[in-house]
């Protein structure tokens, strides 16, 4: 069963075409990886999936429903099925960790503060943090912020969790912790996960299926093992991390 499906999705900004006929399908319960260089259109693709941007052509299906023609209100409802972990963590810096993690519950439910606080505590424990409810984001390290961001995204049991560059900008030990946390959460919560990254090593470790995005086009899509037998020189160049090959430095 497909959780997310994209059919011939294209998106342009002015004269610049960022996505070219993207076809993609993400199955329920799997961890799917979208890999590509910076500027390949990953963020635009994500924003299309969660309904922050509308594709120029093509269709996007979330859980079987075509969201392409949804109005603002319906899109908001769709968005609530996603948990988003942003590249820069994007914690609200004027709110405490408790208010950050419980943000969704404070905004969209009528739960009492005590109940929310308890759920925040439980969710923070799930990502391996405790006793930081009353701290502010600036008091935490990059790795801790990332884990708080993950807690904020999973607290309301979304159907799909999206990690945008989950390991960018944190130290190797924190990377390892975040990676095992993503795997652990996937096992325990059994939700569909979509990981978008340029870090191949991390990506291959946590995902089952992969799509390779280059210059707004999907040039490879399949199982992790299929990647080993591919003959596409562009994919091979990326896998080897080589600067010589069909993908040039200036090309995006």
């Amino acid at each position: 069963m497909e959780m997310v499906k994209l059919e011939n999705v294209s998106k342009s900004f002015g004269a610049k075409k960022v996505l070219h006929d993207v076809n993609l399908s993400i199955n329920k319960g799997e961890t799917f990886l979208i890999i590509g260089r910076s500027g390949a259109g990953k963020t635009v693709l994500l924003k299309n999936i969660i309904g922050l941007l509308r594709p120029d052509t093509g269709h996007i299906f979330i859980d079987g429903k075509d969201i392409t023609m949804f109005n603002k209100k319906e899109l908001e409802k769709v968005r609530l099925q996603f948990g988003l972990v942003f590249q820069s963590s994007a914690l609200f810096d004027f709110l405490t960790i408790e208010e950050n993690v419980g943000f969704f519950l404070y905004q969209h439910t009528a739960l009492k503060r005590g109940e929310i606080r308890k759920r925040v505590k439980d969710t923070l424990a799930l990502v391996g943090l405790e006793g930081i409810e009353d701290s502010y984001p600036y008091q935490l390290s990059g790795g801790m912020k990332k884990r708080v961001a993950i807690a904020r995204a999973v607290i309301y049991n979304p159907k799909i969790i999206i990690y945008d560059e989950p390991t960018t900008g944190i130290d190797p030990i924190a990377v390892d912790k975040v990676v095992s946390l993503i795997e652990d959460l996937h096992r325990r919560l059994a939700i569909t996960s979509l990981v978008v990254t340029h870090d191949l090593e991390v990506g291959l470790k946590i995902s089952e299926r992969i799509a390779f995005l280059l210059g707004g086009r999907i040039i490879f899509q399949g199982q992790k093992d299929d990647l080993r037998i591919t003959a596409d020189p562009r994919v091979l160049q990326f896998l080897n991390g080589s600067s010589s090959g069909p993908i040039k430095e200036m090309e995006v």
Binding site: I50, L52, E76, K77, R79, L84, F86, S88, A90, Q107
Partner: protein
């Protein structure tokens, strides 16, 4: 010639997009129940934290106007009228204008910088991802806070300016406290106070609109400093233009 036309076009585009932004603010203003805590936090940030600077400047401006009018009134040996002149010029004009320029430079700049840094660190995107409208969550509380604090701040500024005037009147010209304030309140009519209040509400709205609009524009950290500059400069210009229009309007309405 074409560059002038282009500039005019850019100006109208700017006014148009600010207009749409303002429409969005008014849509959210009445869309749902507001969180009182968020508004109080903004009132503290915008209003109460501006008090020291507003006090200092309006007090000194009161003293300055008193001396300047005394210098003129000396020719007619009627220095006691500094009380009414200080009161009128402060309440009708200088209080609202100076007060709003201070708030625009101080709180307007901080509103733009605050929203701008949220924008570039993906926090605005995060709000949207949580199905919370950024205008509703970030701008409307600031707008309400400015609508509440500006008139209060301006009355306070007027009062301190008058106090500054009294110090000159008493120390230099020996006008007793009671007499000074009798002259002050005799000169002031309801329409003077009202025009000052209307001005302060309009200027407060301009600050909220321009500062928040500019806050959503940056895409990188260098854009933030540019946006802050734009926010302060554009609110200054709009406040003065709006003041000119309102003053002319009141002149014909309140005759």
């Amino acid at each position: 010639m074409s560059t002038i036309l282009q500039k005019i076009e850019i100006l109208f585009q700017y006014i148009g997009s600010v207009g749409l932004f303002v429409a969005d603010i008014f849509f959210w203003l009445f869309a749902k129940k507001r969180n009182i805590k968020a508004i109080v936090r903004e009132i503290v940030l915008i209003g109460i934290n501006s008090l020291p600077l507003v006090s200092l400047i309006s007090f000194f401006v009161g003293i300055i106007i008193a001396f300047q009018t005394a210098y003129q009134l000396k020719q007619f040996s009627s220095e006691i009228y500094i009380a009414s002149l200080v009161a009128l010029s402060l309440v009708r004009e200088l209080g609202p204008v100076l007060g709003s320029l201070i708030v625009a430079a101080r709180s307007g700049a901080s509103i733009t910088a605050g929203i701008g840094s949220m924008k570039i660190s993906e926090q605005v995107d995060a709000l949207e991802a949580f199905a919370v409208a950024p205008v509703d969550y970030l701008v409307v509380p600031k707008f309400i806070a400015l609508l509440i604090t500006m008139p209060i701040l301006i009355i306070y500024a007027d009062f301190l300016g008058i106090l500054g005037g009294y110090i000159v009147g008493n120390a230099k010209f020996g006008i007793p406290f009671k007499f000074y304030f009798k002259l002050t309140f005799d000169a002031l009519k309801m329409k003077d106070l009202l025009s000052g209040m209307i001005k302060s509400i309009c200027f407060g709205s301009i600050i909220a609109f321009v500062a928040s609009y500019e806050g959503f524009r940056p895409f990188s950290s260098t854009d933030v400093s540019e946006s802050v500059t734009h926010a302060v400069v554009r609110s200054f210009i709009l406040i003065i233009v709006c003041d000119c229009i309102l003053t002319a309007l009141f002149y014909f309405i309140f005759v």
